[in-house]
């Protein structure tokens, strides 16, 4: 075991001696955290909107006002000519247009049921869908709130309506950051831990020092531990730093046990580092290692539930996600931070993740052994 200590010492010396490396390991995730933290959002805001109010009655102006007072939409123009509206959408200047027809107010009073048109650039399907939803919602809320002519109101007396009283649990303010940031931290650390470990072993192969180590009485698993442990310590410290920054910048509350969080993150990092070392063991050059780990990473990212909710994937793909350690840690970290979940509820995630960690490490040892001889 003393030999492993020597390996660890060497690794640390090498890392801290390359200033660029240190800057990247500690600086990069923080920058990425800020950028990603502020950009990754499912929310839709500031949609560029053109208002075409051809009626200019009390009712239509109420509707327009509702759109002016929300930050979901950003009215860039008031334009009633359809050709020019079309041009603006074609030119990427506006994404949506609302056209309130001539005589709108009058037709309502006469029960003629006029038609408001919502034109939308559907290229970004997701944003379009959400924007349409908001727009419909705003119009409906406004319609209920405005003074509708008496005959209609009279008809409403004697109505009984069911109303929903809603309460949001765990996230009263529907703060998006609370949900996204932990996921972002996980992603950042996965990337760095895999990249570091993937390149490390293979670099020694390239320069020839690996051979020197293999000729020594060092056992394979000792060598692998000697690679994983320094990175494990490093990335864990990094995780703590990044998480602390995240808490400060984005005001995240951690509702669950920090110790549990730390322990399970440690486990996860062991798995990703193991994966990186495994890649390192089966490749011959640093470039190859980089590519293969990048390949794994993209896959892991897409199939983890980070971008796309797992429930929304086709059944086959959902099954594949069970093989992805990132899937489990995302659930774990989100649950602990937001809901304060305890270990007993997380066993469905913790057990597979642990099994993976052990399996991957064993795979790395076996593969390394075979390759050497």
């Amino acid at each position: 075991m003393q030999q492993i200590l020597y390996l660890i010492r060497k690794e640390f010396k090498q890392i801290f001696r390359t200033r660029e490396m240190v800057a990247i390991i500690f600086g990069m995730p923080l920058i990425q955290l800020v950028i990603l933290g502020f950009t990754i959002t499912n929310e839709v805001k500031n949609v560029h909107l053109i208002i075409g109010d051809r009626d200019n009655s009390r009712i239509s102006r109420e509707i327009v006002r509702a759109f002016e007072h929300t930050d979901r939409f950003n009215i860039i123009k008031y334009e009633t000519d359809i050709a020019r509206i079309t041009e603006n959408i074609q030119d990427w200047k506006a994404q949506m247009a609302i056209i309130i027809p001539h005589n709108f107010g009058r037709d309502i009073e006469r029960y003629k049921i006029p038609e408001i048109q919502l034109l939308i650039d559907g290229l970004d399907g997701n944003t379009a869908g959400v924007a349409l939803g908001y727009a419909q919602n705003i119009i409906q809320q406004t319609a209920k709130a405005i003074q509708i002519p008496e005959p209609i109101l009279a008809g409403l007396a004697g109505q009984t309506l069911v109303e929903l009283e809603d309460r949001m649990w765990y996230n009263l303010n529907l703060d998006n950051a609370q949900y996204m940031i932990p996921g972002i931290v996980v992603v950042l650390l996965t990337i760095i831990s895999m990249m570091l470990s993937a390149m490390s072993l293979v670099k020694e192969k390239e320069i020839g020092t690996l051979e020197q180590l293999m000729v020594s009485p060092l056992k394979r698993h000792q060598l692998l531990f000697g690679k994983i442990i320094p990175f494990l310590i490093l990335t864990f410290i990094e995780l703590t730093i990044v998480m602390t920054f995240a808490r400060i910048i984005f005001s995240i509350n951690i509702n669950g046990s920090l110790i549990l969080l730390g322990f399970l993150s440690f486990l996860y990092l062991f798995t990703t580092l193991g994966l990186g070392v495994f890649i390192s063991a089966i490749t011959g050059t640093q470039q190859e290692a980089m590519f293969i780990s990048w390949f794994f990473l993209v896959f892991m990212l897409l199939m983890s539930g980070f971008f796309i909710p797992i429930e929304n994937m086709p059944a086959l793909l959902q099954h594949i996600t069970y093989l992805n350690p990132m899937r489990y840690i995302l659930i774990i970290i989100r649950d602990i931070i937001q809901k304060g979940t305890v270990l007993s509820f997380l066993l469905k995630e913790v057990v597979p993740m642990t099994i993976y960690g052990v399996l991957i490490f064993i795979l790395a040892v076996i593969n390394f052994h075979k390759r050497a001889a």
Binding site: Y6, K13, Q14, I207, G208, T209, S216, L218, K219
Partner: protein, 247 residues
């Protein structure tokens, strides 16, 4: 290990890579304290031979023992008893000389005091004590080479394997390196060295010449020169490789 013991012994040692046979039926016997050389062109099989004996590669067939241990089943014991130095020198460029030595000492499970003592000896012998805290990449090539040799000997192994240890080094440095090898041999260590420098072949006690994986000549340099009627190893080598018969 006593001088009449056999340090390395192989019988019909063979290594195949798919259809390609890198080493064919190599049978040699190296005594303790010998400087045994392996001569041959690039690709002749020298490196494969060394790698099998070091436990880096498993032979396809045949048998071999190193320091009395079987290469198939006892490779761990072999590794404890050998030192190895490759063409690439295998020192960490981004560690200091001191750190490199301490690291390799630790890997071989030496005690801290032992490492400290041997380290100081080694640095003093090479005359680079003052450079101990400099990064290895700043060391001139000749010194790096001798440092690598020193690291290989740190744990005092009875057998040393050197794979083209003098690549890229100027002739004067090569000579002083070989002086080091002689000194080491005189201490009773067995040295197994591969090279493609003909003049170095002259320095060995015995050598074998490899071509296309086969050993086509074996014996002391003087004997080989006499047998083939040539005055230099270079001529012997060319004549053998050309397929000329001995006189």
């Amino acid at each position: 290990m006593e001088t009449d013991q056999i340090a390395v012994h192989t019988e019909a040692l063979t290594r195949r890579f798919g259809n390609f046979t890198a080493v064919k039926n190599a049978s040699i016997s190296v005594s303790a304290g010998e400087i045994f050389g392996f001569l041959g062109a690039n690709g002749a099989g020298k490196t494969t031979m060394i790698r099998m004996l070091c436990g880096l590669l498993k032979p396809t067939s045949g048998s071999a023992t190193v320091a009395g241990f079987d290469v198939y089943r006892q490779s761990e014991q072999i590794k404890r008893n050998i030192g190895y130095m490759s063409q690439k020198f295998s020192l960490y460029d981004d560690l200091t000389l001191s750190e490199n030595i301490e690291f390799y000492g630790g890997i071989y499970n030496m005690s801290v005091e032992m490492i400290e003592q041997r380290k100081n000896n080694l640095l003093r012998e090479l005359g680079i004590e003052s450079e101990a805290e400099k990064l290895t990449r700043e060391l001139p090539l000749g010194y790096k080479q001798r440092l690598a040799l020193g690291c290989a000997l740190l744990h005092d192994p009875p057998i040393l394997f050197l794979d083209e240890p003098t690549s890229g080094v100027d002739p004067r440095a090569r000579r002083s390196f070989w002086n080091l090898i002689y000194q080491t041999s005189r201490k009773g260590k067995t040295i197994f060295v591969t090279t493609h420098f003909m003049d170095e072949a002259e320095y060995c006690h015995r050598l074998s010449i490899m071509r296309d994986g086969e050993i086509i000549a074996l014996g002391p340099p003087s004997g080989l020169k006499h047998k083939h009627g040539k005055s230099s190893m270079q001529d012997v080598f060319i004549s053998i490789v050309n397929g000329e018969r001995p006189v």
